[in-house]
Amino acid sequence: MTSEDGRFVVVFNGEIYNYPQLRAELETDGARFRTTSDTEALLHLYAHYGAEMVHRLRGMFAFAIWDQTRRGLFLARDPYGIKPLYTANDGWTFRFASQVKALLAGGNISRDPEPAGIVGFHLFGSVPEPFTLYRDIRALPAGHTQWVDNAGPREPKPFANLAEVLAKSAANPTPAAELPERVRAGVLDSVSAHLLSDVEVGIFLSAGVDSGAMLGVMRDAGQREIRAITLAFDEFKGTPEDEAPEAARVSAIYGARHIVRRLNAQEFFGDLPTILEAMDQPSIDGVNTWFIAKAAKEAGLKVALSGLGGDELFGGYASFRDLPHWRRWFGPFAAVPGLGFLFRKFIRAVAPNLAVARPKAVGLLELSGSWAGTYLLRRGLFLPHELPMFVDPEIAREGLRRLKPLNRLAATLMPDPRTDGGRVCVLESANYMRNQLLRDADWAGMAHSIEIRVPLVDFTLLATLAPAIALLKEGAGKAALAHAPTTPLPAAALIRAKTGFSVPTGAWMSMAAAKLWGATASLPQYKGLVSRRWSSVVINHIGLTDDPAKVHAA
């Protein structure tokens, strides 16, 4: 879209949720709108505020604005990194796109591998930004802007930082008594904002608290017709692991039309080639998002809310408990130079089976000395010392040198959020969620033309809740979320253990891995090992080199 005077041209991927307010303000200041699109608001905002405009946006966005007068390009990406934005610069030509694949398809971009991206994928199960699998393609980091003109692209500049929001709030924590009201008001505000749409907004409903509470809040926000879609597995029918009955109960409470989409192994294997094809950068997850987005498309939906982000914001992951514990118990040992290394060698020597079955236990004393290390231990797919077993040793060495995984993780904690809960919240949000969950939601949703909206991944909501997050007691966050709707979620929803997506898709993934790459077909006892096998399927499919064994000896 071009501005009326022809000076600015914008390309935009995403959604600006505070568009009505922005438009009203801009019109008061004299702007004349020609359309009813939020895209036009970006043009007026840029004309008015320049690069500072990004502070006024609430939403998920990746956009580029060409300034004909200054002969330069302004790029920006939302604070959480919900929308992707990739760039390629060969020194003469600057290119950008929402997908790595699109850039490659455009041609004239080197496919030389980026060791940091390959190593990052093996460490985390997704490719950590700003890297991709290709040296010449980079992500514009979340919460950054970039300026490009005839002097070339400038270094990306940060404009929003999750850690800073939490660090600032840590000084003035909210009293526990105020937590429920703050959560209720914050979530209602965010969900209301995310309902701004020309078309029907549906919801992905699991048996968990996050999506259930969101459905309730949708109702509070005044949404009348709501279709809620649940993914269920034939294998689980009649077992406690089946999410469908609980989701149906929640759906009934809030008067939504419930659609249960059943998935079986046959369909999983049938779609697998398409899934791997749709994946932009390799990821060990995203399969379930693929199927629920597929179900939403079948139902005729274009937009759906997802509870993604609830675990990061409300302390839902075990990491909120584990990380502080591990730091406390093992951190002092990790502080002794060389002890961790000796421990690893010792375990390998005396209990080689343990080293294989519980690879992370072996790294405990080496990594738990810092928050970054402990997080890597908790979330890591493989640990740095294991890389040479899976990746060409030269790629592993160079990749670690370029990626600097611990420095990079530590950098997400700058400035220090000052409380354990705040630190884990930031580590999870700025790493696992950003590089994996949000990327998966994007390619899996886009492949079905479904816009997945994530009201719990909202910078405004984070700012509202930050003073409360600092001191969240275990379980208190989810309890407050369950009580966010006027009619609270039933207590059963809170007690129910998180089923997650490991089984049966986990078993299927393991079978697929065995079939495609000849790994042992038996299902490993240790859940993490499924992901490890699956990772080889994914990265080998991406076909980075002609010789898959070079990247990943499966």
Binding site: D90, W92, N150
Partner: protein, 363 residues
Amino acid sequence: MKRLPRLLALVGDAFGGRGGIAQYNRDFLGALAKSGAVSSITVVPRIARGFFLLPEKIEQTPAHAARSVYALAALRTAFSRPFDLVFCGHVFMAPLAALIARLKGAKLIVQTHGIEAWPRPSRAQLMAVEAADLVLCVSRYTRSAVLNWAAIVPERVLVLSNTVRDIFTPGDGSALRAELGLQGKRVLLTVARLDSQDRYKGHDRVIAVLPQLVAQGHDVAYVVVGDGYDRARLEAAALRAVGAERVRFLGEVELQSLIKFYRMADLFVMPSTGEGFGIAFLEAMACGTRALGLNVAGAKDALADEQLGRAAPETELAATIARVLVEPKGDPGTLAAAVRARFGPETFATGVCNALNRLMETA
């Protein structure tokens, strides 16, 4: 007003030096001095011969070829006066330049050219380059090679293409052609060093296709300008291939003659596999003569992705030469103007200013 920065340049050679890198250093430092963006430039060279003139704002210290003596001289100069910027003309000197920049609290610019910057350098050089505030590369290929081994923010690595001086202009080359006894022939010209380590330049490839071109009825002659230890071997090979009537090896020539050689040729051909950029392509085209190289490494930049010259795959060298020879020559003035617009001194000066402004932006 902010004080203009003072620059210390550590170079192999610049003023009083020979060859492409010295020329680049003169172009770069000259453009910088002229731009008014720096208050002074102090050049510390390892080699400087004969008489030379220094542009305004530039001073040059005496040359010291021995490494340790050079390092001491550079340190002494660095601490004799204030500097805000250190320009390092060669990756080999990057550790010394990085040390000086660090001690002086100055910003570091590292310049890379061609093969010296392609393989992974020593650890000390690697760390020095990674510490640079700006890395300048003469081509996209060199930039890509640097980013392959250096863990550095890619935005700090810029392409600043070589430039071509104003004295290279089109003109009548018929007198020289007559002098060489090549009237009526289609003249292929290569200008390059002829040392055995320079075999990548591709004289052998041209010689190999000459018989084929003659057999196809092209009345070609091959003129080679440049000298080196490999000259006798190449000359013998060329004579064997097509005979004395079609071969001229002229050795090194003076600048004024060189321009005449470029003007006289029908096609400048240098099927090199190792060009950081290939400034001779620009010189030839600035003289209005068409140029042909391989679509390999920095040559692609000099030939501007085939917008100015031809960049052939190695296997199609003979066919491409044959095709160009039968195509209409085109207007030399138009080609020269296009080369100047793309790579001329004004464009280069803009690039130099942009690079420096970027460095000062982040101050």
